[in-house]
């Protein structure tokens, strides 16, 4: 009946069996593969699974701490609260950033930069959104974290400068590595590992590893001062942390990682005394100026202050353009280390060296007299003394005491330019002292050869007269003046300045070998300097008393900023007070104390202070403060130097 029977002659069943057989073969293939993977190779795969979830995360080393001589922290590390975003994990990066901006500040520029970065790199690489957050902002993000997919709030370490602006110029600051710095570091690493140009794979690996390390939110590089100079030493050896992560990189667990851990940066102890530095800054007040205090015997610098300053903490997380432009355009030049980078004509503070040169050359004796009538004529030109009516009869001591210009015109002409220049160099001028920081200005110690080379002109003898009173092409930094003063005050030693006293090895100052001044000559100079502050008629009588019966000896100086014309001289020189600030004379004062047993040198320069009277009261106060701290200042802070012997991390001037 049925017209469409299925199983005609059992053919359908036969074919079913064939298909079932084929199915059985396939099934056995699958089962066999399971046996292979799970039973035979199971252990290997189990190992791979373990390796899989372990990731090496870059971990910057703790940056070395910078201490003063008593262990006060000048540069240390604080907790850094930061927020990262992983573009891949967000539903919509732009929306996430907008929402985040309700809790933490994200500027429009920052917003744009993050979006750009997200386009340029792999989507799973975290991008720092904000760091150096306050605890309030950080906890707000943490509370709202579940609302934000792909946003992570983490804690790290960041550079901080507890003393704010006080040491900004010497210590410098750190900032996020820029592209150029990163490229340099990558090039250095590739060179260090001796990877050839053809080994593209290895180059890429180094590149990506370095990028991961140096893009870390905690990573900063020194940009100035000690931070930049001693960068490799302070930075230490960045390492890794071994963490268990899921495929999207979320941290599931932290695992032991001692073998790949970062090696902390080395600490540095400076010879500075933070209290003196702070006092000096306070005492300079609103002035634009600098102060240097140096230990005569050891050359250790107790203070190297420059005002006004900037707050290095502002740079750590990126300074705003307005703030930076304010610093840049400030006429008092807060970004400038006036004590180390600034050079001034030394003015009358140079007179001791002219006297020393004359004594050494034997062209003038201590008792030789010169008559000062207020001016002297040479080469058809009048050379004026600062004192209109003249000083009358002066000898070397009273000429230093009263800062008589006519006396020094006379002996300068007698001794000649070359001997003055030689003496200036011998006493520490015209040289950059390598202290372990960036910058430094060697100034100019002119002589005929210098003039021929630089100005393509012969030396005119009239210029020698100006040389005698520290004017003309001659320029010196306050640090050089401190060295000069220390070499006058020192008995039998020739001090050179020194800043690093622990931790990092002190860099070679590069100071040339120098024979101490003949003690007899030094005595004559000191007698003059003593008279300046302590004998009737001295130019800085009020600076002599530094308490407890101790006396300060010193020398005033005024560096002319503008030329005084003959016409002006005829009508009467305009008083500095009546000039605009930037045209007023610089006031200088070099000093040492105690006068009978010199221990410290103090140099103060007040830019456009109108004259030395702006400088010497400040120097006196700083010296008194320094002397009062004296008994304590002999014990110094000691730190372990973890890397001092380590070849690769030694402070290395190449690394600047």
């Amino acid at each position: 009946m049925s017209n469409s029977q299925r199983n005609r002659d059992g053919e359908f069943t036969r074919r079913s069996i064939v298909m079932a057989g084929a199915g059985a073969v396939l099934w056995t293939g699958l089962a066999g593969r399971l046996v292979q993977l799970q039973l035979f190779e199971g252990e290997e795969y189990a190992e791979l699974a373990t390796e899989n979830r372990i990731r090496l995360d870059p971990a910057p080393a703790r940056r070395g701490v910078i201490y003063d001589r008593f262990g006060q922290r000048l540069a240390s590390n604080k907790r850094n609260f930061y927020v990262l975003v992983v573009p891949e994990e967000t539903d919509n990066l732009e929306g996430t950033l907008k929402n985040l901006a309700r809790y933490i500040p994200i500027s429009r520029t920052k917003h744009r930069r993050i979006l750009m970065q997200a386009r340029q790199q792999a989507k799973f690489v975290p991008i720092p959104v904000a760091d150096d957050l306050s605890w309030q902002d950080f906890s707000r993000i943490n509370v709202h974290a579940p609302e934000f997919r792909g946003v992570y709030a983490e804690v790290g370490e960041l550079r901080s400068y507890p003393m704010g602006a006080a040491f900004a110029h010497t210590i410098g600051y750190v900032a996020r590595p820029n592209r150029e710095e990163l490229d340099n570091l990558i090039a250095q690493e590739i060179a260090r590992l001796q990877i050839g140009p053809d080994n593209i794979v290895a180059r890429r690996q180094v590149q990506s590893r370095m990028q991961r390390i140096y893009r870390h939110p905690d990573m900063r590089l020194g940009r100035q001062g000690i931070e930049q100079f001693a960068e490799p030493y302070l930075r230490g050896q960045p390492g890794f942390e071994r963490i268990a992560v899921n495929a999207s990189g979320r941290i599931v667990d932290r695992l032991p990682s001692d073998d790949v851990a970062p090696k902390d940066g080395g600490d540095v102890v400076l010879s500075f005394d933070a209290e003196i530095q702070k006092f000096a800054i306070a005492r300079l007040g609103e002035e634009s100026g600098s102060a240097v205090v140096m230990d005569i015997e050891s050359g250790e610098l107790l203070t190297m202050a420059s005002t006004p300053a900037f707050n290095p903490n502002d740079f750590v997380s990126g300074i705003s353009h307005t703030k930076y432009n304010d610093l840049l355009n400030n006429e008092k030049k807060p970004l400038y280390h006036k004590a180390y980078d600034g050079v001034y004509p030394p003015g009358s503070t140079f007179k001791m060296l002219v006297a020393a040169a004359a004594l050494e050359a034997g062209v003038a004796g201590p008792q030789d007299r010169v008559m000062c009538r207020g001016k002297t004529r040479f080469g058809g030109r009048d050379f004026h003394c600062w004192k209109h009516g003249g000083h009358g009869v002066v000898n070397m001591k009273s000429a230093i005491q009263k800062s008589c210009d006519v006396y020094f015109y006379d002996i300068a002409r007698r001794v000649g330019v070359q001997k003055i220049a030689d003496m200036a160099r011998k006493m520490g001028l015209g040289h950059v002292y390598e202290l372990g920081m960036t910058g430094g200005n060697k100034g100019v110690v002119p002589d005929p050869a210098w003039k021929q080379a630089v100005k393509q002109e012969p030396w005119f003898e009239g210029e020698t007269l100006n040389y005698g009173i520290g004017q003309g092409y001659l320029t010196t930094s306050p640090l050089q003046l401190a060295v000069m003063t220390a070499r006058i005050a020192a008995e039998k030693v020739a001090p050179s300045p020194k800043l690093f006293i622990g931790g990092a090895p002190s860099p070679d100052t590069g100071a040339p070998e120098y024979e101490p001044l003949d003690p007899e000559i030094a005595k004559q100079l000191r007698a003059g300097m003593y008279a300046v502050t302590s004998e009737a008629g001295g130019t800085a009588m009020r600076a002599g008393d530094v308490g407890n019966g101790r006396r300060l000896a010193g020398k005033t100086g005024t560096a002319q900023v503008r030329r005084i014309t003959t016409a002006e001289r005829a009508t009467g020189v305009i008083d500095n007070k009546d000039l605009p600030w930037r045209l007023r004379d610089h006031g200088l004062f070099v000093s040492y104390a105690p006068a009978d047993n010199p221990k410290y040198v103090c140099v103060v320069v007040v830019d456009h202070g109108g004259g030395s009277s702006a400088a010497y009261p400040i120097a006196r106060d700083i010296m008194e403060f320094t002397l009062n701290r004296d008994p304590a200042s002999k014990t110094t802070h000691k730190v372990a130097s973890p890397m001092a012997q380590d070849e690769t991390t030694r402070v290395d001037s190449e690394a600047i």
Binding site: M1, S2, N3, S4, Q5, R6, N7, R8, E11, F12, T13, R15, S16, M19, A20, G23, L26, W27, G29, L30, A31, R33, L34, V35, L37, Q38, L39, E41, G42, E43, E44, Y45, A46, L48, A49, T50, N52, R53, V245, N246, A247, S248, V252
Partner: protein, 380 residues
């Protein structure tokens, strides 16, 4: 057109349900739900998936039984319209389909997108079964001409799907259709000749007929380390997951690979990796065995059917299900290139579930009406 056997009441039909097969399916779908819980519990955004999977299965299961009690004649009658309708939609896709992932597969019909190639998987089986049913009437044996027409029934939609391009689905249509032709009695000599021809033509097809991404899949399959962060990475991670499961597995929700999201698409195409990692060799073999049982039941149903239509439709469904299972698991274990084929009843996803359950209702329907015969005339 006459009905030979007695009419079946609804109660008879319910009593005639293949309960063992039904239970096997329910067991596999429940296991799938458990696995989906493991995959999705950690992610609040996916928390609804297991519940959705189970509720969808229950809903579709009821609909499936509803369809299975429909008279076999109705199934036979809608075979051609369904096939022609699906073919029409495929042509429509060709002209106005929506692009997705580089292929034109979806048709936008206002409220939703539909994928005509999925419907075609079942429609093609019904159409072939019906064609052979009529070709076999009056004790005729289908001749070579009939087989050629059957091949055209398969070939037209296969080519359309290949043009989308969707290699996986077109291979599936060709393979399952081929199985139906085989069951319909394609002479053995033709089979051998055809096999030879296929083997010879593989190289030119590979060289000129495949898109770059399809070739890339084959390359990656042959050498996974070639592309460590693309598809090869996915495959490598899948193998690590499966292998590290070992004999007993790492336990429910304990898979380090799956819980840490190393495997993409782990709630859809790569879900077998979770089973293998968390339930080990035992769990994986249990699933393979359950599927083997379900497919053997399916083959028995096909053999037990009185009608050619029922027998061939059931055999086609078995081939379809087997294709899904073998290709999916084979792909995940690195035995086959990566093609987007889900693991039926386990993978999350609506369209594949529809197709599978429609096939399942055919199996149940054929079993219910195993003793009935029918005579069909015309094309309706």
């Amino acid at each position: 057109m006459r009905m030979i056997a007695e009419r079946l009441t609804l109660v008879d039909k319910i009593r005639n349900l293949h309960w063992s097969l039904l239970l096997t399916f329910i067991a596999i779908a429940s296991f799938g739900t458990v696995v989906l819980v493991s995959v999705t519990l950690k992610d609040p955004q996916m928390a609804g998936i297991p519940w959705q999977h189970m509720s969808r299965f229950i809903f579709v299961l009821i609909a499936t039984i509803g369809l299975a009690v429909a008279p076999i004649r109705i199934w036979a009658m809608i075979a051609y319209p369904a096939y022609l309708g699906a073919l029409f939609l495929l042509v429509l896709v060709e002209f106005m389909g929506t692009m997705g992932g580089g292929a034109q597969r979806w048709l936008d019909i206002g409220p939703t997108l539909i994928q005509p190639s999925e419907f075609m998987k079942i429609a093609i089986l019904l159409a072939l079964a019906r064609y052979y049913h009529q070709a076999s009437e009056n004790n005729r044996t289908p001749n070579l001409g009939n087989h050629i027409i059957a091949a055209l029934i398969i070939g037209v939609p296969t080519m359309l799907v290949l043009r989308q391009p969707d290699l996986g689905t077109s291979l599936m249509l060709a393979a399952t259709g081929g199985v139906v032709i085989f069951f319909a009695g394609l002479p053995w000599r033709v089979i051998f000749a055809g096999t030879l021809a296929v083997v010879i033509s593989i190289w030119p097809i590979y060289q000129f007929g495949l898109k770059d991404y399809q070739k890339e899949r084959v390359y990656t399959f042959l050498d996974p380390s070639r592309d460590p962060l693309g598809a090869g990475y996915q495959l490598q991670q899948a193998k690590i997951a499966i292998g590290s499961g070992g004999v007993e597995g790492k336990g429910f929700m304990q898979g380090t690979q799956s819980q840490n999201n190393y495997i993409p698409e782990q709630h859809t195409d790569f879900i077998f990796t979770i089973i293998a990692e968390e339930f080990g060799f035992m769990g994986s073999m249990a699933l393979l065995t359950a599927w083997a049982i379900a497919l053997i039941f399916g083959l028995l149903i096909a053999n037990r059917s009185t009608t050619v239509f029922g027998g061939l439709a059931a055999a086609g469904v078995v081939a379809t299900l087997a294709f899904y299972v073998v290709v999916n698991i084979g792909m995940v274990m690195g035995l086959m290139p990566v093609v987007g084929v889900p693991l039926p009843l386990i993978s999350h996803g609506g369209t594949a579930m529809m197709t599978v359950m429609l096939g399942f209702s055919i199996l149940l329907m054929v079993h219910i009406h195993r003793d009935q015969s029918m005579v069909l005339k015309g094309i309706i």
